[in-house]
C-alpha cells in the first residue's frame, strides 16, 4: 500500500515534469510563405488618397488603389492602369481617358467614369496636401460610363504624368460617399471620412486594407476579387522599425522579408547569404538652400556671394563624407534622369574663384551666417554630417556658418517665420515629370521657394525667364519640352538658391527568396510585382 502510493506520486511528478518541459519547447520557426513582411519607419499622415502625403502612403495607395495610368518599371514611361488608353487634344488642354471594361473595385462593382469624376473633384476640393496635382483642372466630366474627359485651364503636357501619382487614386465613390466622403466645393469643411479611411480602403487594387495601427503596423489582405494578376501573398505587413540597424537585424534573422531604409554602410555589414542587397540610384536628393531675404542674412547673400558659396563646396568630398560615395552629384534641383537633365553642367569646386568673387562682392575677410536645419537623417544622409562638411568648405573661403540643428517643428517655424539664410532640406518625387520641381523650386512668383528665399521681398529673387520657360514647357511635348526644361535647369543653376548636394543611392535589401523587389519613382515599392521564388 505504502509502496504503491510512493511510486504513484513519483510517477505523477515525472509525467508532470515531462508535460511542462514539452510545453516549454519553442515551436520550430516556420516561415509563413503567404505573408510578406516589410520593415520600415512609417511616416503615415493619412490613408485617404486625397489627404495622404508620405513615402509609406505611396506604397499603401499603389497596393490598394489604382490610378488611371502608372509608371512602367523603367521609371519613365507611362503605361495603362485603369485607363486602357487616352487621347490628348492638340492644344494639350483636354484629356480623354477610356477605362478598362474589366476593371472592378474590391467589392466587385465596376470602375466607372463617375468614380473618376468624383475622385478628381474631391482631390481638388478637399484642399489636402496632394490637391496641387489638380491645380488648373477646370472640368472633369463623364462622357459615357467608361469614358472621362478632363479639361485644364492652360496647356499642361505633364497632366498625365501628374495623375500617375498615387494620390490621384480612383476611389469607389458609392462606398466612400456612404462613409461621409464629399467631393464638391464643400469638401474642405464638410468631409468627415478621414477616420473611415484609416480602417477601410475603397480601391480596385490587388490588396485591401486589413488594419492600421499608427507607428506599429500597416496590414494588407490580398484582394481576391482583383481583375488582374493576383498576388501570391495572402497578407502583407509593413511593420514599424525605426532605424537602419534594427531593420538589418530583423532582415538577417528572418523576422522580415524586406528592409526599406538601410543605408549603404549598414548594407555592407550584412553577411548572410539569405539576404540580397542592391544599391540603385534614387530620384531623391538633399539640398542646401540660400534665402537672401531671411532676416538674419542682412543682405549678404547677393547673387555673386551665392555663386561664390556654391563654388566653395567640395561636391566629390560631400559624396564621400555623407554616403561613402553611394550617390550622385546633381546639377539642378531636377533629379538626374528626369526630363531635360541630360547634359547639364556638373557642379564643381573652385576655391580661388570663390575667394575672388567674395572679395569683389565686398567681403574680402568673409562674414558669418546662421545655418538652421532639421536634426534628421534622410535617405541615409545625416544632415548634421552634411552641414559640418558645408561648414568646413565655407570656412576655406572665409565664411563662417553657425550650425544650429533643430527639431523639425522648430526648424519649420523658423523657415516660415524670419526665414533661414542657409538650410538643408530633401525632396522625393511624386511622379516622373520635371514640372513638379519647377513648380516648387523655381524662382517664379508664388512658388514655395521663391517665397521662402525672398522673404519680405520675393521680387528680389524672382527670375522672369523661368516663368516663361515653364509655361512653354507645359505647352510643348516630347523633345521640345525636354529642351525647355533643360533651359529652366540652367536658369535654376544660375539662381544659386537651391544647391543640390547629394542624390543618395537607395538600398534594396530583401530575402534572397524574393523576386520583383524594385524602386518606383511614383509608388516606392510596387507590392504586386513581388513574388517568392
Amino acid at each position: 500500500m505504502r509502496l504503491t502510493a510512493r511510486m504513484s506520486r513519483r510517477h505523477l511528478l515525472v509525467v508532470t515534469s515531462a508535460l511542462a518541459l514539452a510545453s516549454l519547447a519553442p515551436a520550430a520557426f516556420a516561415q509563413d510563405s503567404e505573408t510578406l513582411v516589410i520593415a520600415r519607419s512609417m511616416d503615415v499622415n493619412s490613408l485617404d488618397p486625397a489627404r495622404a502625403f508620405c513615402d509609406t502612403c505611396q506604397i499603401y495607395l499603389s497596393a490598394t488603389y489604382e490610378t488611371l495610368v502608372t509608371l512602367a518599371p523603367d521609371n519613365q514611361s507611362l503605361v495603362p492602369s485603369l485607363a486602357a488608353s487616352w487621347d490628348i487634344n492638340s492644344e494639350t488642354t483636354e484629356f480623354t481617358f477610356h477605362l478598362k471594361p474589366e476593371a472592378v473595385f474590391a467589392d466587385g462593382s465596376p470602375v466607372e467614369a463617375k468614380d473618376v469624376v468624383w475622385s478628381f473633384q474631391r482631390l481638388l476640393n478637399l484642399k489636402g496636401s496632394p490637391s496641387f496635382l489638380m491645380d488648373g483642372m477646370t472640368a472633369v466630366e463623364e462622357v459615357d460610363p467608361k469614358t472621362v474627359k478632363v479639361t485644364v485651364a492652360a496647356p499642361d503636357s505633364e497632366f498625365v504624368n501628374k495623375i500617375s501619382a498615387t494620390y490621384a487614386a480612383i476611389i469607389n465613390s458609392d462606398v466612400a460617399i456612404e462613409a461621409g466622403a464629399i467631393a464638391d466645393e464643400t469638401a474642405a469643411t464638410a468631409d468627415t471620412s478621414e477616420t473611415w479611411f484609416f480602417e477601410n480602403s475603397a480601391g480596385s487594387g490587388p490588396f485591401t486594407l486589413a488594419g492600421y495601427t499608427p507607428e506599429t503596423e500597416l496590414r494588407f489582405a490580398r484582394n481576391d476579387a482583383y481583375y488582374g494578376t493576383k498576388s501570391p501573398f495572402a497578407e502583407v505587413v509593413i511593420t514599424q522599425v525605426q532605424d537602419a540597424v534594427s531593420q538589418a537585424q530583423a532582415l538577417e534573422s528572418g523576422a522580415v522579408d524586406i528592409a526599406m531604409q538601410i543605408d549603404p554602410d549598414t548594407a555592407a555589414s550584412i553577411s548572410s547569404p539569405d539576404v540580397t542587397t542592391e544599391v540603385v540610384p534614387s530620384f531623391n536628393f538633399v539640398y542646401v538652400a540660400f534665402s537672401p531675404g531671411a532676416a538674419s542674412a542682412e543682405g549678404k547673400l547677393t547673387p555673386a556671394v551665392r555663386e561664390a558659396l556654391a563654388l566653395a563646396i567640395d561636391y566629390d568630398g560631400m559624396l564621400e563624407f555623407t554616403v561613402g560615395g553611394n550617390g550622385f552629384k546633381q546639377s539642378s534641383p531636377i533629379p538626374n534622369g528626369f526630363p531635360g537633365t541630360a547634359g547639364l553642367p556638373e557642379p564643381s569646386q573652385d576655391v580661388e574663384k570663390a575667394k575672388a568673387l567674395l572679395a569683389e562682392a565686398g567681403f574680402p575677410d568673409g562674414f558669418t551666417l546662421d545655418a538652421v536645419y532639421p536634426n534628421d537623417n534622410v535617405y541615409g544622409v545625416d544632415l548634421n554630417l552634411m552641414m559640418q562638411k558645408v561648414q568646413q568648405d565655407f570656412a576655406a573661403v572665409g565664411v563662417t556658418i553657425n550650425l544650429q540643428p533643430q527639431t523639425y517643428p522648430v526648424w519649420r517655424d523658423q523657415l516660415t517665420g524670419d526665414g533661414i539664410p542657409v538650410t538643408a532640406v530633401y525632396y522625393a518625387p511624386d511622379y516622373y515629370g520635371s514640372g513638379q520641381y519647377v513648380a516648387y523650386f523655381a524662382m517664379i512668383e508664388s512658388t514655395p521657394w521663391a517665397a521662402r528665399a525672398g522673404g519680405a521681398a520675393p521680387e528680389a529673387v524672382v527670375n522672369p525667364a523661368e516663368a516663361d520657360l515653364y509655361a512653354q514647357a507645359l505647352a510643348a511635348t516630347g523633345e521640345a519640352s525636354d529642351a525647355l526644361y533643360n533651359q529652366i535647369g540652367l536658369e535654376m543653376i544660375k539662381d544659386k538658391i537651391i544647391i543640390p548636394l547629394v542624390s543618395p543611392n537607395l538600398v534594396l535589401a530583401y530575402g534572397s527568396d524574393l523576386a520583383g523587389v524594385r524602386y518606383s519613382a511614383c509608388c516606392n515599392l510596387p507590392l504586386n510585382e513581388i513574388t517568392r521564388k
Partner: protein
Amino acid sequence: MLGYLLRRMVAMPLLLLGIASVVFLLSQITKGDPLSALIPERMMSNAEVVATVKAQWGLDRSLPERYLIYMGHLIQGDLGTSFGTRRPVSTDIAERLPATIELVVAAMIFGCTSGIGLGLLAARFKNTVTDSAARIFALIGSSVPVFWSGLILLFIFSVKLGWVSGPGRLDARTDPPPGITGFFTVDSLLAGNVPLFLEALGHLILPAFVLGWSVTGIVTRLIRSSLLEAMNMDYIRTARAKGAPENVVLIHHALRNALIPALTILGFTFAYLITGAVLTETIFSWPGIGSYAVSAARSLDYPAIVGVTLVGAVAFLLANLLTDIAYAFANPRVKLEG
C-alpha cells in the same frame, strides 16, 4: 480610512485639470510649427492648404479660445484628436496602454524580485564578495541608460544568439490574439493558444529585463539597508535567542518589516516605470504609451501630449494612493484617519 480615500478621490480630478492646463499652456508656448504633423514640408507654403488645415483643427482660433474649447471637451472626457495619428487620443491611449502596462508589470516582477533577492543576499552576506557582486549588478542596472543596454542586449541575445525574439510585441507575421485585456500574454492564454503565449512572452522578456533592471538598484539598496537596520532590532535578537535559524530570522522576521519602506518606493517605481518606458519602448519598437509620447512630443501633437501626461499623472496619483493603503495593512501602527 474611508474619509481619507474620499478626500483623495475628490482632489484627483482637480489635480488632473491643473496638470492638463499647465501642459496645454506649455505646449502652446513651445517654439515650433504646430502644423508640422498636419502638413508636410512641401505644402507648408501653400496658403490654401494651410488655411484649410488650420480651420479643420481649430488652429485659427486665439489661444484663450483654444484653451476653453479644449478644457470644455476635457471635462466631458474628450481628450481630442491626435495630430499625428488623426484618431481620438482616447482611442490611441486605450490601444497602447495595455502594451505599456504589460511591459511595466513584467518589469516590476523582474525588478522587484531581483531587487529583493539581491537585497537579501547583500544583507545576509554583508561585506563579502557576494554583497559586492549583488550591489554592483544592481548598480549597473540603474546606472546604464536603457537605450544603451537595450541595444546591446538586443544585439547579443536576439541577433547573435537567437535566444529571444526581436523588437515588437509579436513576430510581424503573427496575428494578435483576440482582444480581451489587450495584454497579449493574457489574451493568448485566454484563447488557449500556448504557442502564441510563448511567442508573446519571448518578445516581452528582453524589454522587461532592460526596463526592470533600471529599478533593481534602488530596490536592492533599500532592501539591504532596511534589512540591516531590522537585523539590529530587539525582536530579531529575541528570535535568535529562541534558536531560530539565521535564514528563518532573515526571511520570516526581518524581511516583512524591511518591506514597509520598500512599499513606498515600489509604488513610485511603478509610476516611474510607466513614464520611463519611453526609451525602452522606442528601442524595442514596443507600441505603448511611451513611444506614443515620443512621437507626440516630436511633432508638437499637443492633444496627445496632454493625454499621455494625464495618464502618467493618474498612474502617479493611484500608485501613491495604493501605496498608502498597502502601507496601512503592512504596518498596523499606521492609521489612515479620516
